[in-house]
Symmetry: C2
Subunit: 341 residues, 2 copies
């Protein structure tokens, strides 16, 4: 039996000793590859939007100052883990070296994206970021990153632009969990809050494929409603502020069996609870979800619901999401629309 702590990168933790890499202040990105690890020659970081915004604000949008700040974080922490926002991002690069005990199935030369957060990934920058001007979340770079035995990585598909693949990977946990829940509960009615976004549109496509026959897409504006209607991903497109429980339940009408919260603003717990029928399931994907808001909200409304923390990992999630993207022109259309927004 493999020990439970195997493959978590514990011996890359420098400070404080004994915590997991994500909780660590500083990781060691330099020492030799362990047998369960994979080394990546990094060519691009995709900073978390909240992290980049914070750095841009702190440095008054001065690109070179932002660049220096990113370099300093990576130098002192051994990972791109913004100490203010607590967030990271993703990376892409080429597989350089594969440990003899690695179970990730990667081979040198493959182009891959890391699907675990940069907040737990040992990273060293070797080019002082000289090819990045500090403007925007896409950081061109040369460096080295380490994937652990349990890290998740996906081979970049040959048929899609790198940026599209990254965007799909970024939200791939959502459609995978929606697929599982709809199949397991045999739910027929699903409402997605934030349905015109990336995770939202993929969730709609996943629910449809999994057998749902009444798909409600909730969006905040008429403009988003028009975009979503044009795709045909939802059977009913409704407009409401997801933070207004009564507005949500009114526009949804007959409660659904599964609600999926993809709206990245706080305060969407009560609306999704109210829109879901007794015995149903609410899946929270938004990182802005309040645990207490959900728990006490359901209790206060005597709502007999299963409420799920949206786990970003489900086996096969990257492939499922890419497949949904490829086979739904409507999803691709919404991804492109969001890119321009």
């Amino acid at each position: 039996m493999v020990h439970v702590s195997w493959g978590l990168g514990l011996d890359r933790v420098v400070e404080p000793v004994g915590v997991l890499p994500q909780a660590a202040w500083r990781l060691d990105p330099d020492s030799d590859l362990r047998t369960d690890e994979v080394a990546i020659a990094v060519r691009r970081l995709n900073l978390d939007a909240a992290s980049y915004r914070q750095l841009a604000d702190e440095h008054a949008n001065n690109g070179l100052a932002i660049r220096d700040a990113v370099l300093e974080i990576i130098r002192t922490r051994g990972k791109m883990h913004n100490p203010v926002t607590g967030s990271g991002g993703m990376l892409i690069g080429t597989v350089e070296e594969v440990g003899t005990d690695s179970v990730l199935g990667l081979v040198p030369g493959q182009s891959v994206a890391s699907l675990v957060s940069l907040t737990l990934t040992p990273l060293r920058i070797d080019d002082a970021l000289r090819n990045w001007d500090g403007s925007g979340e896409q950081v061109l770079c040369a460096g080295r990153a380490i994937l652990f035995g349990r890290s998740i990585a996906a081979v970049l598909p040959a048929d899609l632009p790198e940026e599209i693949a990254l965007s799909v990977f970024d939200v791939c946990g959502a459609p995978a969990l929606v697929d599982r829940v709809v199949r397991e509960t045999k739910a027929r009615s699903v409402c997605v809050l934030g349905a015109a976004g990336k995770s939202g549109s993929l969730s709609l496509a996943a629910a449809r494929r999994a057998g749902a026959t009444r798909l409600v897409g909730l969006v905040p504006t008429e403009r988003e409603a028009d975009n979503l209607r044009a795709t045909g991903l939802a059977d009913e497109v409704v407009v409401a502020d997801a933070r207004d429980p009564l507005a949500v339940s009114t526009v949804v009408g007959e409660p659904v069996q599964v609600s999926v919260v993809c709206v990245d603003v706080p305060g969407c717990e009560h609306g999704s609870i109210l829109a879901t029928a007794a015995g149903g399931t609410v899946i929270f994907f938004s990182m802005a979800t309040s645990f207490a808001g959900a728990a006490l909200g359901a209790e206060g409304m005597a709502a007999d619901l299963t409420m799920l923390v949206g786990n970003g990992y489900t086996p096969g999630h990257a492939e499922l999401a890419l497949d949904l993207y490829r086979s739904n022109a409507g999803v691709a259309h919404l991804f492109a629309t969001r890119g321009r927004a």
Copy 2:
């Protein structure tokens, strides 16, 4: 069909209009009973521990000042909703008047406890709290409270002291959800973190009755371990800091199918995830749970787990918890021990 917003107490909301009672700043506890409501002659409030501690700190443990503060909150908000902690508590009293459309099944004269939070319960105090000296969370009072169509109330059992019944009701959501999850997943191994507490001991008893055959109780100290061992509620009693993921996974050993987090301190997400086998379930009951900590933690460890927000409401939860309390001397022993601690 009953409209979805029926029975939520919307027309008791004074400010701001349009939100649910829990989110409201001020409720109206005075106006006439609606047909779906029940009026309670309140005799005791059981303040949430965090709320009382905050008030005691703010007023330097001056009982009369604490009493004035509680009165002022109820007077200005129309409910006992501590604006600093955001928490409330529970109440007990006697059913005074039952609206013609009420579905709660109550009749005048019954002694009941309200199982919904005081943060959403219209409340008026009529005796200026003159029989309470401000020391302790149990507030003797005379007043009036309103239960809505969807509020939950439990008739106080004749065979148990009122304080015990309240303590059991306070945590009754936990054993009810553990019962459901263990039965539905047919799990045989269950670990409860914080197993010697009230929700923890009831969760162990519920898991046993639901068919689990390997029950691990995790506690923070040898003293609690001794107390728990004496009850026989767990098959294995282990000692670790629930905030230390590696310590937790080491003492639990072979991962369990269901983990139940009943530890009311932040930072227990990763340990419970690491202690749970692939395909298993983690139930988070602690209000100190970090949504992002759970979601990103599972993703970072590639943990294919179902993670549940501990819903405080499951039909029949109060009766189930009382029954477990009555039929397990060990549970009663731990409740008594905690009361003295």
